[in-house]
Protein backbone atom coordinates (compact mmCIF):
# COMPACT_ATOMS: atom_id res chain seq x y z
CA UNK A 1 0.00 0.00 0.00
CA UNK A 2 1.37 3.41 -0.97
CA UNK A 3 1.97 6.04 1.66
CA UNK A 4 0.26 9.40 1.60
CA UNK A 5 3.41 11.32 0.69
CA UNK A 6 3.92 9.29 -2.49
CA UNK A 7 0.23 9.60 -3.42
CA UNK A 8 0.50 13.38 -3.09
CA UNK A 9 3.82 13.56 -4.94
CA UNK A 10 2.30 11.72 -7.92
CA UNK A 11 -0.74 13.98 -8.15
CA UNK A 12 -0.58 16.70 -10.85
CA UNK A 13 -1.47 19.42 -8.33
CA UNK A 14 1.76 18.74 -6.41
CA UNK A 15 3.93 18.30 -9.48
CA UNK A 16 7.46 19.51 -8.66
CA UNK A 17 6.65 20.44 -5.06
CA UNK A 18 9.92 19.89 -3.12
CA UNK A 19 9.91 16.55 -1.32
CA UNK A 20 10.27 18.03 2.20
CA UNK A 21 7.07 20.03 1.63
CA UNK A 22 5.24 16.93 0.45
CA UNK A 23 6.24 15.21 3.68
CA UNK A 24 4.91 18.17 5.68
CA UNK A 25 1.65 18.16 3.72
CA UNK A 26 1.25 14.40 4.18
CA UNK A 27 1.22 15.08 7.92
CA UNK A 28 -2.12 16.81 7.43
CA UNK A 29 -3.51 14.14 5.08
CA UNK A 30 -5.68 11.06 5.22
CA UNK A 31 -7.34 8.80 2.67
CA UNK A 32 -11.06 8.87 2.04
CA UNK A 33 -13.54 6.93 -0.11
CA UNK A 34 -16.94 8.37 -1.03
CA UNK A 35 -19.92 6.46 -2.37
CA UNK A 36 -21.79 7.73 -5.44
CA UNK A 37 -24.49 10.34 -4.68
CA UNK A 38 -23.01 11.09 -1.24
CA UNK A 39 -22.32 14.73 -0.41
CA UNK A 40 -18.69 15.52 0.31
CA UNK A 41 -19.58 18.95 1.68
CA UNK A 42 -22.51 21.32 1.63
CA UNK A 43 -22.87 25.08 1.27
CA UNK A 44 -22.40 26.99 4.51
CA UNK A 45 -20.62 24.21 6.38
CA UNK A 46 -17.15 24.96 7.80
CA UNK A 47 -14.52 24.47 5.09
CA UNK A 48 -11.78 22.63 6.90
CA UNK A 49 -10.30 20.51 4.15
CA UNK A 50 -9.49 20.14 0.50
CA UNK A 51 -9.58 17.00 -1.57
CA UNK A 52 -6.90 15.66 -3.85
CA UNK A 53 -8.91 13.49 -6.22
CA UNK A 54 -7.35 10.17 -7.16
CA UNK A 55 -10.33 8.41 -8.72
CA UNK A 56 -13.87 9.28 -9.72
CA UNK A 57 -15.86 12.39 -10.54
CA UNK A 58 -17.43 15.01 -8.28
CA UNK A 59 -20.16 17.47 -9.19
CA UNK A 60 -19.97 21.01 -7.84
CA UNK A 61 -23.57 22.02 -7.34
CA UNK A 62 -25.60 25.08 -6.68
CA UNK A 63 -27.95 24.24 -3.84
CA UNK A 64 -31.53 23.91 -5.07
CA UNK A 65 -33.82 26.89 -4.92
CA UNK A 66 -37.23 25.32 -5.24
CA UNK A 67 -36.03 22.68 -7.72
CA UNK A 68 -33.32 20.11 -8.05
CA UNK A 69 -29.64 20.95 -7.56
CA UNK A 70 -27.75 22.16 -10.61
CA UNK A 71 -24.27 20.86 -11.38
CA UNK A 72 -22.18 23.77 -12.59
CA UNK A 73 -18.85 22.01 -12.98
CA UNK A 74 -17.34 18.61 -12.42
CA UNK A 75 -13.88 17.73 -11.19
CA UNK A 76 -12.19 14.40 -11.67
CA UNK A 77 -9.11 12.36 -10.85
CA UNK A 78 -6.12 14.64 -11.25
CA UNK A 79 -7.99 17.69 -9.96
CA UNK A 80 -8.35 19.19 -6.50
CA UNK A 81 -11.66 20.03 -4.90
CA UNK A 82 -12.22 22.98 -2.59
CA UNK A 83 -10.37 26.18 -1.85
CA UNK A 84 -12.69 27.72 0.76
CA UNK A 85 -10.43 26.32 3.51
CA UNK A 86 -7.92 28.93 2.34
CA UNK A 87 -10.15 31.98 2.19
CA UNK A 88 -12.02 33.47 5.18
CA UNK A 89 -14.64 32.89 6.46
CA UNK A 90 -13.69 29.28 5.64
CA UNK A 91 -17.17 28.15 4.66
CA UNK A 92 -18.11 26.11 1.61
CA UNK A 93 -19.74 28.21 -1.13
CA UNK A 94 -21.17 25.26 -3.04
CA UNK A 95 -22.24 21.68 -2.55
CA UNK A 96 -19.98 18.87 -3.72
CA UNK A 97 -21.43 15.47 -4.49
CA UNK A 98 -19.80 12.28 -5.72
CA UNK A 99 -21.14 11.29 -9.14
CA UNK A 100 -19.13 8.05 -9.18
CA UNK A 101 -17.18 6.19 -6.51
CA UNK A 102 -14.50 8.63 -5.40
CA UNK A 103 -11.14 8.05 -3.78
CA UNK A 104 -9.22 11.04 -2.53
CA UNK A 105 -6.58 12.25 -0.15
CA UNK A 106 -8.09 14.82 2.21
CA UNK A 107 -5.87 17.54 3.58
CA UNK A 108 -6.96 19.11 6.84
CA UNK A 109 -7.36 22.86 6.28
CA UNK A 110 -6.74 23.95 9.84
CA UNK A 111 -3.54 21.89 10.01
CA UNK A 112 -2.43 23.33 6.66
CA UNK A 113 -3.17 26.91 7.64
CA UNK A 114 -0.99 26.51 10.72
CA UNK A 115 1.86 25.06 8.68
CA UNK A 116 1.55 27.83 6.11
CA UNK A 117 1.74 30.44 8.89
CA UNK A 118 4.87 28.75 10.22
CA UNK A 119 6.51 28.45 6.81
CA UNK A 120 5.59 31.18 4.35
CA UNK A 121 7.48 29.51 1.51
CA UNK A 122 5.16 26.54 1.86
CA UNK A 123 2.22 28.94 2.02
CA UNK A 124 3.39 30.66 -1.17
CA UNK A 125 3.81 27.32 -2.94
CA UNK A 126 0.25 26.31 -2.07
CA UNK A 127 -1.24 29.73 -2.88
CA UNK A 128 0.51 29.78 -6.23
CA UNK A 129 -1.04 26.44 -7.14
CA UNK A 130 -4.49 27.31 -5.84
CA UNK A 131 -4.40 30.63 -7.71
CA UNK A 132 -3.96 28.70 -10.94
CA UNK A 133 -6.82 26.38 -10.07
CA UNK A 134 -9.08 29.32 -9.20
CA UNK A 135 -8.13 31.16 -12.41
CA UNK A 136 -8.81 28.05 -14.51
CA UNK A 137 -12.20 27.46 -12.90
CA UNK A 138 -13.13 31.14 -13.33
CA UNK A 139 -12.16 31.01 -17.00
CA UNK A 140 -14.21 27.85 -17.46
CA UNK A 141 -17.22 29.43 -15.75
CA UNK A 142 -16.96 32.52 -17.99
CA UNK A 143 -16.82 30.36 -21.09
CA UNK A 144 -19.85 28.39 -19.93
CA UNK A 145 -21.75 31.67 -19.55
CA UNK A 146 -21.03 32.49 -23.20
CA UNK A 147 -23.26 29.66 -24.43
CA UNK A 148 -20.48 28.73 -26.82
CA UNK A 149 -22.32 26.14 -28.81
CA UNK A 150 -25.44 28.11 -29.53
CA UNK A 151 -24.27 28.86 -33.06
CA UNK A 152 -22.03 25.92 -33.81
Amino acid sequence: MRDLASLLADHPFFHDVPAPYVTVLAGCARNVAVQPAAYIFRTGEPANAFYVLREGRVGIELPPVGGSPRTIQTVSAGDVLGWSWLIPPHQWRFDARALTPVRAVVLDGECLRKKCEQDHDLGYELLRRFSQVIADRLESARLQLQDLYGGA
Binding site: R57, S76, G78, S140, L143, L148, Y149
Partner: protein, 285 residues
Protein backbone atom coordinates in the same frame (compact mmCIF):
# COMPACT_ATOMS: atom_id res chain seq x y z
CA UNK B 1 -22.52 33.33 -70.87
CA UNK B 2 -21.04 31.65 -67.83
CA UNK B 3 -17.47 32.50 -66.93
CA UNK B 4 -14.98 29.76 -67.58
CA UNK B 5 -14.04 28.01 -64.35
CA UNK B 6 -11.12 25.82 -63.57
CA UNK B 7 -11.75 22.12 -63.17
CA UNK B 8 -11.17 20.11 -60.03
CA UNK B 9 -8.44 18.05 -61.63
CA UNK B 10 -10.74 15.25 -62.77
CA UNK B 11 -12.05 17.07 -65.75
CA UNK B 12 -15.36 17.92 -64.14
CA UNK B 13 -16.64 21.49 -63.95
CA UNK B 14 -16.53 22.34 -60.21
CA UNK B 15 -19.39 24.80 -60.63
CA UNK B 16 -21.77 22.13 -61.96
CA UNK B 17 -23.64 20.19 -59.26
CA UNK B 18 -24.28 16.47 -59.49
CA UNK B 19 -27.68 15.17 -58.52
CA UNK B 20 -27.91 13.11 -55.31
CA UNK B 21 -30.87 11.41 -53.64
CA UNK B 22 -31.40 11.78 -49.89
CA UNK B 23 -31.39 8.09 -49.07
CA UNK B 24 -31.61 8.36 -45.31
CA UNK B 25 -32.12 11.08 -42.71
CA UNK B 26 -31.25 10.64 -39.06
CA UNK B 27 -32.25 13.24 -36.50
CA UNK B 28 -29.28 13.80 -34.23
CA UNK B 29 -30.70 16.50 -31.95
CA UNK B 30 -33.70 18.82 -31.94
CA UNK B 31 -32.24 20.91 -34.79
CA UNK B 32 -29.44 18.81 -36.24
CA UNK B 33 -29.72 16.00 -38.76
CA UNK B 34 -27.52 13.68 -40.78
CA UNK B 35 -28.28 12.85 -44.40
CA UNK B 36 -26.88 9.98 -46.41
CA UNK B 37 -26.79 10.96 -50.05
CA UNK B 38 -26.75 8.53 -52.95
CA UNK B 39 -25.60 9.57 -56.42
CA UNK B 40 -28.14 9.53 -59.22
CA UNK B 41 -27.38 8.14 -62.70
CA UNK B 42 -24.57 10.15 -64.24
CA UNK B 43 -23.20 11.11 -60.80
CA UNK B 44 -20.86 9.30 -58.43
CA UNK B 45 -19.48 9.58 -54.91
CA UNK B 46 -16.21 11.40 -55.28
CA UNK B 47 -13.37 10.40 -52.93
CA UNK B 48 -12.78 12.98 -50.25
CA UNK B 49 -10.26 13.72 -47.53
CA UNK B 50 -11.65 13.94 -43.97
CA UNK B 51 -12.22 17.62 -43.22
CA UNK B 52 -13.34 18.58 -46.73
CA UNK B 53 -16.79 19.93 -47.55
CA UNK B 54 -19.36 19.82 -50.31
CA UNK B 55 -21.61 22.57 -51.59
CA UNK B 56 -25.17 21.29 -51.17
CA UNK B 57 -27.82 22.88 -53.35
CA UNK B 58 -31.48 22.81 -52.42
CA UNK B 59 -32.80 23.35 -55.90
CA UNK B 60 -34.60 26.65 -56.18
CA UNK B 61 -33.62 27.78 -52.68
CA UNK B 62 -29.85 28.07 -52.54
CA UNK B 63 -26.50 26.47 -51.92
CA UNK B 64 -24.49 26.11 -48.71
CA UNK B 65 -21.13 24.58 -47.75
CA UNK B 66 -21.56 21.57 -45.48
CA UNK B 67 -18.71 19.47 -44.11
CA UNK B 68 -18.70 15.82 -44.99
CA UNK B 69 -19.43 13.79 -41.86
CA UNK B 70 -19.57 10.28 -43.34
CA UNK B 71 -17.04 7.52 -43.69
CA UNK B 72 -14.31 8.36 -46.23
CA UNK B 73 -14.09 4.65 -47.09
CA UNK B 74 -17.66 4.59 -48.41
CA UNK B 75 -17.93 4.60 -52.18
CA UNK B 76 -21.72 4.42 -52.39
CA UNK B 77 -22.99 7.19 -50.13
CA UNK B 78 -21.78 10.48 -48.74
CA UNK B 79 -22.84 11.71 -45.30
CA UNK B 80 -23.53 15.27 -44.22
CA UNK B 81 -24.57 16.56 -40.81
CA UNK B 82 -26.01 20.03 -40.46
CA UNK B 83 -28.10 22.19 -38.22
CA UNK B 84 -31.31 23.71 -39.56
CA UNK B 85 -30.56 27.38 -38.97
CA UNK B 86 -31.10 29.29 -42.21
CA UNK B 87 -33.32 29.27 -45.28
CA UNK B 88 -31.31 26.62 -47.13
CA UNK B 89 -30.66 24.23 -44.25
CA UNK B 90 -34.27 24.55 -43.09
CA UNK B 91 -35.43 23.73 -46.62
CA UNK B 92 -32.99 20.83 -46.63
CA UNK B 93 -34.46 19.47 -43.40
CA UNK B 94 -37.94 19.63 -44.95
CA UNK B 95 -36.89 17.67 -48.05
CA UNK B 96 -36.48 14.47 -46.09
CA UNK B 97 -35.89 10.99 -47.46
CA UNK B 98 -36.36 10.81 -51.21
CA UNK B 99 -35.52 14.47 -51.80
CA UNK B 100 -32.98 15.53 -54.37
CA UNK B 101 -29.96 17.75 -53.77
CA UNK B 102 -27.32 19.21 -56.03
CA UNK B 103 -23.82 18.40 -54.81
CA UNK B 104 -20.56 20.11 -55.79
CA UNK B 105 -17.26 19.07 -54.35
CA UNK B 106 -15.41 17.90 -52.42
CA UNK B 107 -13.55 21.14 -51.77
CA UNK B 108 -10.87 22.47 -49.47
CA UNK B 109 -8.13 21.05 -47.34
CA UNK B 110 -8.40 18.01 -45.08
CA UNK B 111 -7.12 16.98 -41.67
CA UNK B 112 -3.40 16.03 -41.69
CA UNK B 113 -3.91 12.32 -41.10
CA UNK B 114 -0.68 11.32 -42.81
CA UNK B 115 1.32 13.75 -40.68
CA UNK B 116 -0.43 12.36 -37.61
CA UNK B 117 0.79 8.82 -38.33
CA UNK B 118 3.13 7.61 -35.61
CA UNK B 119 1.94 10.29 -33.21
CA UNK B 120 -0.62 10.62 -30.45
CA UNK B 121 -3.77 12.21 -31.86
CA UNK B 122 -5.86 14.69 -29.89
CA UNK B 123 -9.27 15.47 -31.36
CA UNK B 124 -11.10 18.38 -29.75
CA UNK B 125 -14.65 19.09 -30.89
CA UNK B 126 -17.30 21.54 -29.80
CA UNK B 127 -20.99 21.40 -30.72
CA UNK B 128 -21.58 20.54 -34.35
CA UNK B 129 -17.80 20.77 -34.84
CA UNK B 130 -17.75 17.03 -34.22
CA UNK B 131 -19.26 16.48 -37.69
CA UNK B 132 -16.19 17.51 -39.77
CA UNK B 133 -13.99 15.48 -37.43
CA UNK B 134 -16.04 12.32 -37.69
CA UNK B 135 -14.48 11.18 -41.00
CA UNK B 136 -11.05 11.67 -39.42
CA UNK B 137 -12.12 9.48 -36.50
CA UNK B 138 -13.35 6.80 -38.92
CA UNK B 139 -10.03 6.95 -40.73
CA UNK B 140 -7.93 6.77 -37.57
CA UNK B 141 -9.95 3.83 -36.25
CA UNK B 142 -9.73 2.04 -39.61
CA UNK B 143 -5.95 2.40 -39.50
CA UNK B 144 -5.58 2.28 -35.74
CA UNK B 145 -2.12 0.71 -35.63
CA UNK B 146 -0.66 3.68 -37.47
CA UNK B 147 -1.35 6.04 -34.57
CA UNK B 148 -0.28 6.34 -30.94
CA UNK B 149 -2.74 7.21 -28.22
CA UNK B 150 -5.96 8.69 -29.56
CA UNK B 151 -8.04 11.06 -27.47
CA UNK B 152 -11.44 12.48 -28.41
CA UNK B 153 -12.63 15.40 -26.29
CA UNK B 154 -16.12 16.67 -27.07
CA UNK B 155 -18.02 19.54 -25.52
CA UNK B 156 -21.58 20.55 -26.13
CA UNK B 157 -24.37 22.57 -24.58
CA UNK B 158 -26.56 19.94 -22.92
CA UNK B 159 -26.80 16.13 -22.97
CA UNK B 160 -29.59 16.36 -25.56
CA UNK B 161 -27.24 18.26 -27.90
CA UNK B 162 -24.75 15.41 -28.14
CA UNK B 163 -24.20 14.32 -31.75
CA UNK B 164 -23.60 10.74 -32.88
CA UNK B 165 -24.60 9.50 -29.44
CA UNK B 166 -24.51 5.79 -30.28
CA UNK B 167 -21.14 6.02 -31.96
CA UNK B 168 -19.69 7.97 -29.05
CA UNK B 169 -20.91 5.21 -26.75
CA UNK B 170 -19.28 2.56 -28.94
CA UNK B 171 -16.07 4.53 -29.29
CA UNK B 172 -16.02 5.14 -25.52
CA UNK B 173 -16.10 1.38 -24.98
CA UNK B 174 -12.90 0.82 -26.96
CA UNK B 175 -9.65 0.36 -25.09
CA UNK B 176 -7.68 2.09 -27.83
CA UNK B 177 -9.64 5.34 -27.81
CA UNK B 178 -10.12 7.71 -24.87
CA UNK B 179 -13.46 9.49 -25.28
CA UNK B 180 -14.41 12.30 -22.90
CA UNK B 181 -17.67 14.20 -23.30
CA UNK B 182 -18.61 17.31 -21.35
CA UNK B 183 -21.69 19.52 -21.32
CA UNK B 184 -22.23 23.09 -20.25
CA UNK B 185 -25.45 22.25 -18.45
CA UNK B 186 -25.89 18.84 -16.88
CA UNK B 187 -29.60 18.29 -17.32
CA UNK B 188 -31.75 15.18 -17.12
CA UNK B 189 -29.80 13.12 -14.62
CA UNK B 190 -26.51 13.56 -16.46
CA UNK B 191 -23.67 12.00 -14.49
CA UNK B 192 -20.84 12.84 -16.90
CA UNK B 193 -18.52 15.82 -17.07
CA UNK B 194 -19.94 19.33 -16.72
CA UNK B 195 -17.93 22.32 -17.90
CA UNK B 196 -16.11 23.49 -20.98
CA UNK B 197 -13.86 21.27 -23.02
CA UNK B 198 -10.56 22.96 -22.08
CA UNK B 199 -10.11 21.28 -18.66
CA UNK B 200 -10.38 17.95 -20.45
CA UNK B 201 -7.31 18.90 -22.48
CA UNK B 202 -5.43 19.50 -19.23
CA UNK B 203 -6.23 16.01 -17.98
CA UNK B 204 -6.06 14.01 -21.21
CA UNK B 205 -3.43 11.30 -21.57
CA UNK B 206 -1.19 12.15 -24.52
CA UNK B 207 2.41 13.12 -25.09
CA UNK B 208 2.39 16.86 -25.85
CA UNK B 209 5.90 16.74 -27.25
CA UNK B 210 4.83 14.68 -30.26
CA UNK B 211 1.01 14.74 -30.35
CA UNK B 212 -0.92 16.27 -33.23
CA UNK B 213 -4.20 18.05 -32.43
CA UNK B 214 -7.26 18.62 -34.61
CA UNK B 215 -9.77 21.14 -33.31
CA UNK B 216 -13.20 22.11 -34.62
CA UNK B 217 -15.99 24.09 -33.01
CA UNK B 218 -17.04 27.67 -32.37
CA UNK B 219 -14.07 29.99 -32.90
CA UNK B 220 -13.97 31.18 -29.30
CA UNK B 221 -13.85 27.57 -28.12
CA UNK B 222 -11.08 26.83 -30.62
CA UNK B 223 -9.06 29.81 -29.37
CA UNK B 224 -9.19 28.56 -25.79
CA UNK B 225 -8.57 24.97 -26.83
CA UNK B 226 -5.51 26.05 -28.81
CA UNK B 227 -4.21 28.01 -25.80
CA UNK B 228 -4.68 24.98 -23.57
CA UNK B 229 -2.88 22.73 -26.04
CA UNK B 230 -0.05 25.27 -26.22
CA UNK B 231 0.12 25.38 -22.41
CA UNK B 232 0.57 21.61 -22.40
CA UNK B 233 3.42 21.93 -24.86
CA UNK B 234 1.81 21.12 -28.21
CA UNK B 235 3.49 23.42 -30.71
CA UNK B 236 1.53 25.45 -33.28
CA UNK B 237 2.85 23.40 -36.17
CA UNK B 238 1.05 20.38 -34.68
CA UNK B 239 -2.31 22.06 -34.05
CA UNK B 240 -4.93 22.25 -36.81
CA UNK B 241 -8.26 24.03 -36.76
CA UNK B 242 -11.21 24.03 -39.14
CA UNK B 243 -12.75 27.42 -39.89
CA UNK B 244 -16.20 28.23 -41.17
CA UNK B 245 -17.21 31.19 -43.32
CA UNK B 246 -20.01 32.01 -45.72
CA UNK B 247 -19.08 30.71 -49.14
CA UNK B 248 -20.36 31.09 -52.63
CA UNK B 249 -18.09 29.67 -55.32
CA UNK B 250 -16.03 27.27 -53.11
CA UNK B 251 -13.07 27.46 -55.48
CA UNK B 252 -11.39 30.70 -54.43
CA UNK B 253 -12.85 33.02 -57.05
CA UNK B 254 -15.55 35.09 -55.40
CA UNK B 255 -13.86 36.15 -52.15
CA UNK B 256 -16.90 35.57 -49.94
CA UNK B 257 -14.93 33.48 -47.48
CA UNK B 258 -11.85 35.65 -47.20
CA UNK B 259 -10.06 35.27 -43.86
CA UNK B 260 -7.04 37.55 -43.63
CA UNK B 261 -4.94 36.63 -46.65
CA UNK B 262 -6.71 33.31 -47.13
CA UNK B 263 -9.82 31.96 -48.75
CA UNK B 264 -11.36 29.45 -46.37
CA UNK B 265 -12.84 27.44 -49.25
CA UNK B 266 -9.54 26.87 -51.02
CA UNK B 267 -6.77 27.41 -48.44
CA UNK B 268 -8.92 25.84 -45.68
CA UNK B 269 -11.19 24.99 -44.08
CA UNK B 270 -8.47 23.07 -42.22
CA UNK B 271 -5.55 25.32 -41.34
CA UNK B 272 -2.39 24.81 -39.35
CA UNK B 273 -2.66 27.17 -36.41
CA UNK B 274 0.57 29.05 -37.02
CA UNK B 275 -0.79 30.15 -40.41
CA UNK B 276 -3.99 31.69 -39.06
CA UNK B 277 -3.30 32.55 -35.42
CA UNK B 278 -2.84 36.31 -36.03
CA UNK B 279 -6.39 36.48 -37.40
CA UNK B 280 -8.08 34.08 -35.01
CA UNK B 281 -8.39 36.66 -32.25
CA UNK B 282 -9.31 39.59 -34.50
CA UNK B 283 -12.87 40.83 -34.59
CA UNK B 284 -14.86 41.20 -37.78
CA UNK B 285 -12.53 38.97 -39.79
Amino acid sequence: MRAKTKTNGRGADPMRPDLFLIKRVRKETADTFTMELQPQPGSRVRPFRPGQFNMLDVIGVGEVPISISGDPASTVRVGHTTRAVGAVTNAMSRLGRGGLLGVRGPFGTGWPLDLAAGRDVVIVAGGIGLAPLRPAIYHVLAHRSRYGRVVLLYGTRTPSDILFRNELRLWGGRFDLDVQVTVDRGEGGWRGNVGVVTPLIRRAGFDPLQALAMVCGPEIMMRFAVQELQKRGVTNDRIYVSLERNMKCAIGLCGHCQFGPFFVCKDGPVFRVDRVEPWLAKREI
